[in-house]
Symmetry: C2
Subunit: 271 residues, 2 copies
């Protein structure tokens, strides 16, 4: 079945690297030269066939290069908004023509999650990030992440996560949190609350193998002063993000997308 | 005598921290909450009395908070341009009224250097940086630095420095390089060429003491995976930047400012 992942964030925040690390396939060509020649965002989709726990998954990464990169970013969010709406409309059309059918194997074009990369400035989110999130959060599962989190010390990260959460709350921006169910056991409930308490996830990506302190070859980044490991939860929240997006809560994201779509659909029918 | 240092770069690039580290006095209050409530840049000047090798120095830091922080940054460079021109005009007025005199102790309002902080994206400079540098480079000694350079591995840093230099060359943007003089000895010539070959300097700032591998207390940043040291030239170019700005080439910066002023003055008189 389909998993449509919208990726938002300015150039140079390690988005391509993180996607390649997460899905273990070159989602993006890291060597494509970056140019700022476009005045606006150009939606780019990459489709990948994945298999997760025996289930075939069509991962569609919807990229938004150009977001936040221009001198004037006033319209940055509009192109993204249109993409989300257009995909809702496609699903709406398909529902109307029941001949297409909407079984589990049919294409589901709706955006199931928006991975929003926040620059690790150490202060707060940029105005463009806040404005964009406010526009999108009622239409898509918002998953805010702190990009290149190896820029921040443990102390700075704690402060920054707090600052981001306060601002999300003050601006009344909803973000996705996995639900717990009545019949979940204590261990599952514990995992879910552990996940939730770490949002926004602070992530580091790397497709290079480096040698860590114990002498093992791991995915990471090697600096003259030390080696940061992608799969080390002492070093960053990569494993938690992967759990949210792929291994643990894919169904929750799809279920919540249905709810968001229902809201969109009723507003559309009212007009 | 006066040293007027213009500081340009978006919020969160470690500018305040770097200035505090470089001048060893709280140039900026690091706890002032950052807000993005202004729609444009607000020039802020901080004056500090310093003593360097027995010489009293009036350091005037000209800050430009708001640069690059808005959704629309079209006018970011104009406010900065006006500040530089206005200071040239003040000097021009003073020259005209020779009663003020222009001895070594009189105030010299002209901007002697512009410390331009580049985000360590790993790709190239942002369009706003390029546009702004093109506007300023003929009027001020441009000193481009790569901010928070501990974000980049040694390999990424080498590539990024190369990308920045190529773009500066392609855009015909001049930046300050210290001169060598005929009577310089070989050692001095070697130091100068070593400095020049490391431009743009990759800097890290910190006013906190941390314990390094050897067990010494040093200025640096402590991560779970290692400690980066400010004064370690294996870790970053802080010492080189300090040499350029304070200990080695202050006079060269002031001399070159005279040349840039002369060009401004002749253009002004031609109108
Ligand atoms: N410090 C740090 N750098 C990273 C990380 N991930 C990627 N990078 C580097 O950041 C630069 C930009 O990465 P890229 O994935 O192309 O960013 P994108 O423009 O957002 O797609 C490259 O030099 C990467 O090696 C990370 O987690 N931490
Ligand atoms: N990784 C890294 N972080 C830094 C560095 N210098 C400062 N910071 C952190 O970056 C954040 C913003 O620093 P600040 O000096 O206030 O930036 P400014 O907004 O440009 O003045 C704070 O959390 C600092 O501790 C640096 O060299 N490297």
């Amino acid at each position: 079945f389909d998993f449509n992942l919208l990726v938002v964030g300015e150039s140079g925040l390690g988005k391509s690297t993180l996607l390649n690390t997460m899905f273990e396939v070159p989602v993006h060509n890291l060597d494509t030269p970056h140019t700022y020649d476009s005045e606006s965002i150009q939606i780019q989709t990459t489709n990948i066939e994945l298999e997760e726990s025996g289930v075939k998954l069509r991962l569609n990464v919807i990229d938004t290069p150009g977001f936040g990169d221009n001198i004037n970013n006033l319209d940055s969010w509009k192109v993204i908004m249109e993409e989300i709406d257009q995909r809702f409309d496609q699903y709406f059309e398909a529902e109307e023509n029941l001949s297409v059918g909407l079984s589990g194997t049919a294409k589901d074009p709706r955006v199931h999650a928006c991975l929003f990369f926040i620059e690790p400035s150490g202060h707060t989110m940029k105005p463009l990030d806040v404005v964009t999130m406010k526009k999108l959060h009622k239409k898509v599962n918002l998953v805010p992440v702190i990009a290149k989190s190896d820029t921040l010390t443990e102390e700075e990260l704690a402060q920054f996560k707090h600052a981001v959460l306060s601002e999300l709350e003050a601006q009344e921006i909803d973000f996705f949190t996995p639900p717990t169910y009545l019949n979940d056991d204590e261990e599952t409930k514990g995992e879910v609350s552990e996940l939730i308490s770490n949002i926004p996830f602070a992530v580091v990506g790397s497709t290079s193998l480096v040698v860590n302190k114990e002498g093992n070859a791991v995915l990471g980044r090697e600096y003259p002063w030390g080696v940061i490991e992608v799969h080390n939860s002492e070093h960053n929240d990569f494993l938690k993000l992967r759990s949210l997006l792929i291994s643990g809560h894919l169904e929750d994201l799809r279920d919540n997308t249905k709810k968001l779509y229902e809201r969109y659909r009723s507003e559309k029918l009212l007009k």
